[in-house]
């Protein structure tokens, strides 16, 4: 059975179609393996080689990776939710009701999106604390630390813009209070609030702006900076792992 499968796979690797997609042969040596990583769009920002101890649980608790996986889960559930959602008053709240009462697995979909978002905020913070206490902000990681802070802010802002979308009382007042705090900023506060809400009140315009921010602008920024973040992890020499033996990092 196993041999049949292997021979089938081998035959497949010989086909023209396979070769057109994967231009290199089987990765049998370290050289071909690293060539495979370099030549792949999705893998090329990963390090070609990692130290074994940086894969251990205690090295990172996988906090960054889980945050990224949650981000992917949020993207998928978010796209599904977009099929049922209209950023309009009062239809937005009715869509919540429809998700609850009519759409198959609608409650699951909403809760998955909401819980994943809350979990992501939590994990992003834990990730930051972990990196901080490990001294991950020190040279040569300063730039990646700044990128991380930007990602933290983007995560928080994604969470905040998503809060308004159900268009219920909680949402309305949370955004009212939040934007009022913003308007206390000297000089630009009032203008900023007006720009964000598209008016002086939390209304239809605010809902639309928050929706566009939530589903287009912020996710694009997040993807961009996540790419930079991952890329720099590799370029800056991998994870900062505390060495048990010599105390070096």
């Amino acid at each position: 059975m196993a041999t049949t499968l292997h021979s089938l796979l081998d035959q497949l690797r010989e086909t023209r179609a396979w070769k057109s997609v994967f231009r290199r042969g089987p990765a049998l040596t370290n050289r071909t393996r690293s060539q495979a990583v370099f030549g792949n769009l999705f893998l090329h920002w990963m390090p070609v080689k990692v130290r074994e101890k940086s894969l251990a649980v205690r090295a990172s608790y996988y906090l960054g990776s889980i945050s990224f996986l949650l981000f992917l889960a949020l993207t998928i559930t978010g796209i599904l939710l977009m099929f049922y959602y209209h950023p309009a008053v009062p239809q937005a709240y009715r869509d919540m009701k429809d998700l609850r009462f009519v759409v198959s697995n609608g409650v699951f979909l909403r809760n998955a999106h909401r819980l994943a978002a809350q979990l992501m905020v939590l994990l992003v913070f834990l990730h930051m604390f972990h990196v901080f206490y490990r001294g991950g902000y020190k040279p040569p990681h300063e730039f990646n630390w700044v990128v991380g802070v930007i990602l933290l802010l983007v995560t928080l802002f994604l969470s905040y813009t998503g809060y308004l979308l159900p268009w219920d009382q909680l949402a309305f007042w949370a955004i009212t209070v939040g934007t009022n705090i913003m308007s206390a900023m000297p000089v630009i506060g009032g203008k900023l609030r007006f720009t964000l809400l598209g008016g002086n009140l939390v209304g239809e315009n605010a809902l639309l702006r928050f929706y566009v921010m939530h589903v287009v602008v912020l996710p694009l920024i997040a993807f961009l900076f996540i790419g930079i973040h991952f890329w720099r992890v590799q370029k800056d020499g991998g994870l900062t792992v505390r060495s048990k033996d010599d105390g070096k990092e």
Partner: protein, 715 residues
């Protein structure tokens, strides 16, 4: 890690991975399983089972689909999924009370369910497909289903006019209006009266300080165990409009001091002429004569008073004016005479007509009121008060303003307190979270809040300024219904178009007629173009109905057309000129567009037709079962003895053809008579005349009046 070791995973790790995967799949399966077991699917199956157990299965499941059902009316913002469970609402055969809910048919209503949806009337959450969410107050929905007994409140959200199908709502609105709720609160569609309570500018000239004290303490209202309202110990249908203000002894003393000091225009005592005094003051029967005159003038059409007959005490009389059983213990004698002569001089908006008095009548009637309508014990519980002190007056004035008295009572120089209480025009759509329940233990919902606030305002708010109203259970429900109807402006423009506005009829005549009309306050009892009271016949088409000569003589001496009535037209002692002005105006102006004047002339009706008419009247149509002619006949319709002098022939003809077209809602049935029959019966009725000359009419009038007098006394 060496390349050969890659891909090799320990058995333990594989186990952990397998268990985690299984747990993950199981977690994901929860949601689809929940989807399969939704509540509405259970009710769908239940309906199928029910339909199969009944003989007309085929018809019951003709429209059945296993999916969600919904009524979607975009222009009304309605998405009602109620029919997913309530599947039988349009199936006539499921109307039986044995059919279990939620499958029972909807009772017949003027609206078609599919065109109106469910939540516009029943409220609740139409989008929900779960029992609790659809019907109750939940975390995400605060407008529960309206309980059946208050359902008329939902009608009132759109139907701002009074409809015969909503008696409870109409009663509630009437109570809100008559109890001057709009004096303090802003209410939907109920306008604030110019000044709802009596003007108190000169109240010190009318009543004593002791009486004011007593009245403020207990405004005649005593609620007994059964919840019915008693006034002075007698049962009343209407409760007095003045509510109870829960005042302390100190406040009572101060307020009574302030009010009794209000006498800016003192009344000069009326001087009866020596001739009248000489003739009547010494006569032993002056009180009895006064009582006779009081009855003949039909004061009881508007005023009630207690009468003891055969050991049983009862209230008799109308409710337009105040109850008079103990009036002489209340008002000063000089004020009483001045009032009877010209009520509008004291209260410009009084409904009381200005009677034309002879001096002897005035003397007799006031003597009767002072002797009989009195109670020496009335003020025995009031403490000794004395002359009002300066600081008491100042304190009383402050209390007057604090309690919001000037919302209802005008005092010269004191501005009215408009909107003293909270705005209630959208109370019906208030959410529970917006209500203040204080320390009370009542159920947390809008209905129990409204009811306990009205019966005891301090129950939900210790510092409430609102007075206490003692409504019986039925009236409390009616008021609650009317308040629940106040849901504010319609949420959508489509619903706005559906709203039936409240008619605001006004009848403002001009000229000489207006003066007489206002003097005798005709609109207290009669309706003119939809405006006025309900006690007496609608006079909108009186000019088409009655002959001018008859109107004139009736006004001068009203004789009853309907002997079973308790309330009669009062004898105003009108002058000839006044009667002529009223008769001219009524016959010229108050015309029906459906009756052409002069289209049928009495001269064209032959005796042969009249003879045929008599036969039709007595045999074919049996009119005598309701109407009286001569000494025989029924008492449902008016007496026709004098129809020839009273009615216009063209009116009779039009009336016989289609009574409801002339007066919608009349109980006179439409009998589909042929034009020949109509002419014949008209001819017969036109031959019915009592007397001929004026003298005979006068005699009849006197007889009618004395019969009427007995009628009242016998009630």
């Amino acid at each position: 890690m060496a390349p050969e070791e890659m891909g090799k995973v320990s058995y333990r790790m594989r186990l952990v991975f397998a268990v985690c995967s299984l747990l993950f799949v199981a977690t994901l399966a929860v949601s689809p399983v929940k989807d399969l077991l939704r509540e509405w699917k259970h009710y769908k199956r239940g309906y199928l089972n029910l339909a199969r157990s009944r003989p007309d299965t085929k018809r019951l499941i003709a429209d059945f689909r296993p999916d969600l059902d919904q009524i979607w009316i975009p222009e009304m913002n309605v998405v009602d999924r109620c029919t997913s469970c309530h599947q039988g609402i349009t199936q006539a055969t499921l109307a039986d009370a044995n059919v279990p809910q939620p499958y029972r048919a909807h009772p017949p209503i003027p609206h078609r369910v599919k065109e109106w949806g469910c939540t516009p009337c029943h409220r609740g959450q139409g989008a929900a497909t779960e029992v609790a969410e659809a019907h109750e107050t939940t975390l995400a929905w605060e407008q529960p289903i309206l309980p059946g007994r208050y359902l008329e409140g939902a009608c009132g959200s759109c139907h701002r006019d009074a409809r015969p199908e909503t008696p409870k709502l109409n009663r509630g609105r009437q109570l809100l209006e008559s109890h001057n709720c709009a004096g303090c609160h802003h209410l939907q569609d109920i306008q604030r009266a110019a000044m709802p309570g009596p003007d108190l500018t000169n109240v010190g000239t009318k009543v004593s300080r002791a009486w004011i004290y007593k009245w403020l303490k207990e405004p005649r209202t005593v609620l007994d165990d059964t919840g019915s309202v008693k006034v002075n110990g007698y049962e009343m249908e209407e409760s007095p409009r003045m509510p109870q203000f829960r005042l302390s002894e100190k406040e009572l003393t101060n307020l009574s001091a302030y009010l009794s000091s209000l006498r800016s225009h003192p009344v000069a005592p009326y001087k009866f002429s020596p001739a009248v005094l000489a003739q009547w003051s010494k006569r032993p029967d002056v009180v009895d004569q006064g009582e006779l005159r009081f009855r003949q003038m039909f004061c009881s059409t508007c005023h009630s008073f207690a009468v003891t007959r055969a050991g049983e005490t009862k209230m008799i009389g109308g409710e337009i004016g105040p109850e008079l059983t103990k009036v002489a213990s209340k008002v000063n004698p000089d004020w009483l005479v001045a009032w009877l002569l010209n009520p509008q001089a004291y209260l410009p908006h009084s409904k009381m007509p200005r009677y034309e008095w002879s001096e002897a009548d005035l003397y007799k009637v006031t003597r009767y009121i002072q002797a009989k309508l009195t109670d020496s014990d009335l003020l025995s519980t009031v403490p000794q008060l004395g002359e009002p002190a300066k600081d008491e007056i100042a304190e009383g004035k402050k209390t007057f303003l604090e309690k919001g008295c000037s919302s209802c009572h005008a005092i010269e120089g004191m501005p009215p307190q408009k909107d003293f209480g909270p705005d209630l025009s959208a109370l019906g759509s208030k959410n529970v979270s917006q209500l203040e329940f204080g320390k009370s233990t009542i159920p947390r919902n809008l209905i129990s809040y409204i009811q306990s606030k009205i019966t005891d305002p301090s129950s939900v708010n210790q510092a409430a300024r609102m007075p206490q109203y003692n409504f019986n259970a039925a009236d409390l429900d009616a008021i609650t219904t009317a308040l629940l109807a106040m849901t504010g402006p319609p949420p959508t423009s489509a619903l706005q178009k559906l709203t039936v506005p409240r008619p605001n009829p006004q009848f403002r005549p001009a000229g000489e007629f207006a003066q007489v009309y206002e003097r005798y306050q005709c609109a207290d009892c009669h309706k003119f173009n939809g405006f006025g009271g309900d006690l007496a016949p609608d006079l909108t088409y009186e000019g088409s109905r009655a002959q001018r000569q008859w109107i004139d003589s009736f006004l001068k001496s009203p004789q009853t057309l309907r002997p079973t009535l308790i309330f009669r037209m009062p004898q105003f002692n009108m002058t000839d000129r006044e009667a002529a002005i009223l008769a001219d105006y009524l016959s010229m102006v108050m015309q029906s567009p459906d009756v052409r004047p002069g289209s049928l002339n009495v001269k064209d009706l032959t005796p042969a037709q009249a003879a045929l008419g008599k036969q039709l009247y007595e045999v074919k149509y049996q009119c005598q079962s309701c109407h009286t002619i001569g000494s025989g006949g029924g008492y449902v319709g008016p007496n026709l003895n004098n129809a020839g002098n009273w009615l216009k022939p063209e009116w009779v003809a039009a009336w016989l053809a289609n009574p409801q077209a002339l007066i919608p809602g009349t109980i006179e049935p439409q009998r589909s008579m042929t034009p020949q029959e109509i002419k014949a019966i008209t001819a017969y009725l036109m031959t019915l005349r009592q007397g001929g000359g004026k003298a005979a009419q006068k005699k009849a009038a006197v007889q009618g009046m004395s019969r009427g007098g007995n009628g009242v006394a016998g009630q």
